[in-house]
């Protein structure tokens, strides 16, 4: 399935309703709802924004403004293996740039992009809070600490094997 085109329309109605019904129809709940949508779908689909717009009586423009303001919200689905390299200061000082460069090189994508086959996406994050293990990177929220280029290579190799 083409991840870029699919907006999860079939499952959406009931799931979206479940999320929305948890919250009062109060504009201040927008970010809470978006956080749940992002968590559930892995991104914020346009359809979800339309439903939120109706539910909270906010314009699409305003919702789009909020979605694009906060770095946690994305408009495109992430890859099956989402690699995030920490660029917090503690990790930066310990050389996380080298790990990020290697990830870019291996996957052939830049920060914020997803590979064409939808298998990998890459992100540079700011501090996952595991500074004692710096430098760190995460793959789908699993943390790899005291990371080296070699460790990254091995993890990517493993993910690739899984893909096949």
């Amino acid at each position: 399935m083409d991840n870029e085109k699919c907006d999860g329309c079939n499952s959406e109605n009931t799931e979206m309703n479940d999320i929305l019904n948890k919250y009062k129809q109060d504009k201040s709940n927008l970010i809470q709802i978006l956080n749940e949508v992002q968590e559930y779908y892995g991104y914020v689909p346009e359809k979800a924004m339309l439903e939120i717009s109706e539910y909270l009586s906010i314009t699409m423009a305003e919702i789009y403004g909020v979605v694009t303001f906060y770095s946690r919200f994305t408009l495109k689905p992430k890859g099956k293996h989402h690699i995030a390299v920490c660029l917090g200061t503690a990790c930066f000082v310990k050389g996380s740039e080298k790990i990020l460069d290697r990830a870019k090189e291996r996957l052939g994508i830049d920060i914020g992009e997803t590979t064409k086959d939808g298998k990998f996406s890459l992100e540079a994050t700011r501090c996952v809070g595991a500074c004692g293990l710096a430098p760190v990177f995460t793959v789908n929220n699993e943390v790899y600490g005291k990371a080296t280029v070699k460790m990254l290579d091995e993890v990517i190799d493993k993910c690739m094997e899984e893909n096949e």
Binding site: Q32, G65, F73, C127, G132, V143
Partner: protein
């Protein structure tokens, strides 16, 4: 629902039961195995360790042993950490497969598992937690319960004087008494700016309004700082209690805590704390039969550094883009939903209950003339003991870096330390003996900040560091005002040029002028402090900037474009490893003879440096 009497009973019985957590000579046959469940240790499989312990204990049917998850012990570099009480034996870098040995040797036979003990900086083996140099110079007030109690168990919090300060406040003190106590303690905002907390409370109390709010700022954005996260993960109830006390003092019945969504463990534990407090009738209407009602709600951030700025944070709680408001009016008069609002940082709140219980006089006896109490720092970067430390104000940076932090690893030299994160400045060797307090740090061109403390060794390029911070603030600028939105971009562009070897005469002056303008003209704290890393690195390391610009040379060898690799003929043995591994084939040489690099073709990837077994390849 629990009555006041029932809560007091829990406190008494539970406290006796948990005496072994803080008293090494506790009279008990029980043993408690404490497993750190802070984010650092959790990332290195501490939940698996906890599970293993419980499984083995059940299988072997061992009695009188409990396994407990706790908050951060602080020494994250040595994680995952396991501590056994009451004897206070401290095991470092424990792996899930070590559990069996710890149970068999330590718990069943009373022998210490020597190989898992931690080494101090002088290489001596340490058995007990407080024998470590890392802990000796610390004073734990805000972190008092972190690593002692199970953060997901309200009874354990109650056992260690939990909700006792709230009791005292509700039954023995007027709101003005509370504010006076906080004012007299000398406590100042721990978020970075250092505004006197008592003053803030009194302004919000005096403000007129039918509805007031208490807000906790837990949007810890400084990358590399994790003080607030550790408090929320290790002792969430102390923040709940302090926010209630603040609510009572200023006349608010509703509180919000704004936490980064990137802190899932902290969010989860804080929610558990709220639920438990509600369940016990501590949060709710007419608490313990008094007139006072209070409820608390979590609001999640969504990854915007600027939301740490108080008015941007309010915008975000209201569900909008986190763009700062113009001040005045200050939040004390017109804050959340336009109502008077008190905003304090997590660590500030974490001090409140202790001040109420022990008195302002006790608190103000700690620290320096103008900065009272303690400060929590997240020590990171090129330092041996990475972790969380809490020290009395007035301790010197040298003590933090070299005594508590154990100095610089790999035999390298200290170059600089950065406090205040992207808003702060660097501190050099000559200023290492400056006492840590708000005024002294400001005087040397840095700031207290929220507590991030990053140490850098001599392999770090300060121009590159300034570029890193500007890349961050440029990314995180909300875009509302031009000086910050465009100014940080221009600063970044100039720094990029310099690190790429395209620096021009006059660039330093341009950076200085632009920095001044951004600071003077930006709307909020983000823009007003964004140029600090540039100004402070120019102030202390001007020669590095000049070296980059005039000689196209980076002393530290971090700026790739300026690297000129060469092979030291005295060290090269002609093994050919570099030649074989060079991706562009720019290394030539006969086997057994000195090799050489064609610098025209070289792409400066550094592969040869890492491959050479004789360390013969270096940056000229």
């Amino acid at each position: 629902m629990k009555t006041l009497e029932e809560i007091n009973n829990i406190r008494e019985t539970k406290r006796r039961e948990l005496d072994l957590r803080v008293n090494t000579s506790a009279d008990t046959r029980e043993k408690h195995i404490l497993v750190c469940h802070g984010t650092g240790c959790t990332s290195s499989k501490s939940p698996k360790i906890l599970e293993n312990f419980r499984k083995i204990i059940e299988e072997k049917n061992i009695e009188n042993v409990r396994v407990i998850q706790t908050g951060c012990f602080g020494l994250c570099a040595k994680g995952p950490i396991v501590i056994i009480r009451p004897e206070d034996v401290f095991y470092a870098m424990v792996k899930p497969e070590d559990c069996e040995e710890i149970i068999e040797k330590h718990i069943q036979n009373g022998e210490i598992v020597e190989r898992l003990l931690c080494k101090d900086i002088d290489n001596s083996v340490v058995k007990k937690l407080d024998e470590l140099t890392f802990y000796k110079k610390q004073k734990r007030i805000a972190l008092k319960n972190c690593g002692v109690i199970d953060p997901e168990n309200i009874d354990e919090y109650i056992a260690f004087d939990g909700y006792k300060a709230l009791q005292k406040v509700l039954f023995e003190m007027s709101p003005d008494d509370v504010i006076n106590e906080v004012s007299n303690s000398g406590l100042r905002g721990r978020g970075g700016a250092g505004f006197p907390t008592g003053k803030k409370w009194s302004f919000t109390k005096m403000a007129e309004g039918d509805q007031k709010y208490v807000v906790c700022n837990a949007d810890e954005g400084d990358p590399g700082a994790f003080m607030d996260r550790s408090i929320l993960e290790g002792d969430p109830h102390c923040v709940v209690e302090a926010m209630m006390i603040a609510g009572y003092a200023i006349g608010a019945n509703k509180g919000y805590i704004y936490v980064r969504a990137e802190y899932p463990i902290a969010v989860k534990r804080f929610q558990i704390a709220i639920d438990q407090a509600r369940d016990y009738g501590i949060l709710g209407d007419n608490i313990w039969g008094t007139e006072f009602s209070f409820d608390l709600e979590i609001r999640l951030g969504a990854g915007a550094f600027v939301c740490g700025e108080e008015t941007a944070l309010l915008e975000s709680i209201e569900g909008r883009r986190g763009q700062p408001r113009l001040k005045p009016p200050f939040p004390a008069n017109a804050g959340l939903f336009g109502k008077p609002t008190l905003i304090n940082n997590v660590e500030t709140y974490a001090n409140i209950t202790k001040i109420i219980l022990n008195g302002a006089e006790w608190y103000s006896s700690i620290g320096t003339e103008t900065s009272k109490g303690t400060k929590v720092f997240a020590l990171g970067g090129n330092v041996n003991n990475i972790g969380l430390v809490e020290v009395p104000m007035g301790v010197t940076l040298r003590e933090i870096v070299f005594d508590i932090g154990g100095g610089i690893p790999n035999g390298r030299k200290f170059k600089a330390a950065q406090t205040g994160g992207p808003s702060g400045g660097c501190i050099t060797e000559e200023n290492l003996d400056t006492p840590i307090d708000y005024e002294s740090l400001k005087a040397i061109g840095s700031m207290m900040g929220s507590g991030g403390l990053i140490v850098m060794d001599d392999s770090k390029c300060m121009v590159n560091l300034a570029k890193f911070y500007l890349g961050f603030t440029y990314d995180e600028s909300c875009g509302k005002c031009t000086p910050c939105r465009v100014g940080t971009k221009r600063l970044l562009e100039i720094l990029e040029r310099i690190t790429e070897g395209k620096g021009e005469e006059g660039d330093i002056e341009k950076l200085e002028k632009l920095s001044r303008n951004i600071k003077n003209a930006s709307v909020c704290g983000l823009g007003q402090t964004a140029p600090n890393p540039v100004e402070s690195t120019i102030r202390f390391f001007r020669h590095e900037y000049e070296d980059h610009i005039k000689n196209k040379h980076c002393e530290a060898g971090e700026c790739k474009a300026l690297m000129k690799l060469f092979i030291d003929p005295e060290k090269c043995k002609g093994c050919g490893l570099c030649k074989r591994n060079c991706p562009v084939g720019c290394i030539s040489g006969e086997p057994g003879k000195t090799h050489s690099i064609d610098t025209e073709k070289c792409i400066k990837c550094g592969t040869c440096i890492t491959k050479c077994p004789f360390h013969a390849i270096a940056n000229k």
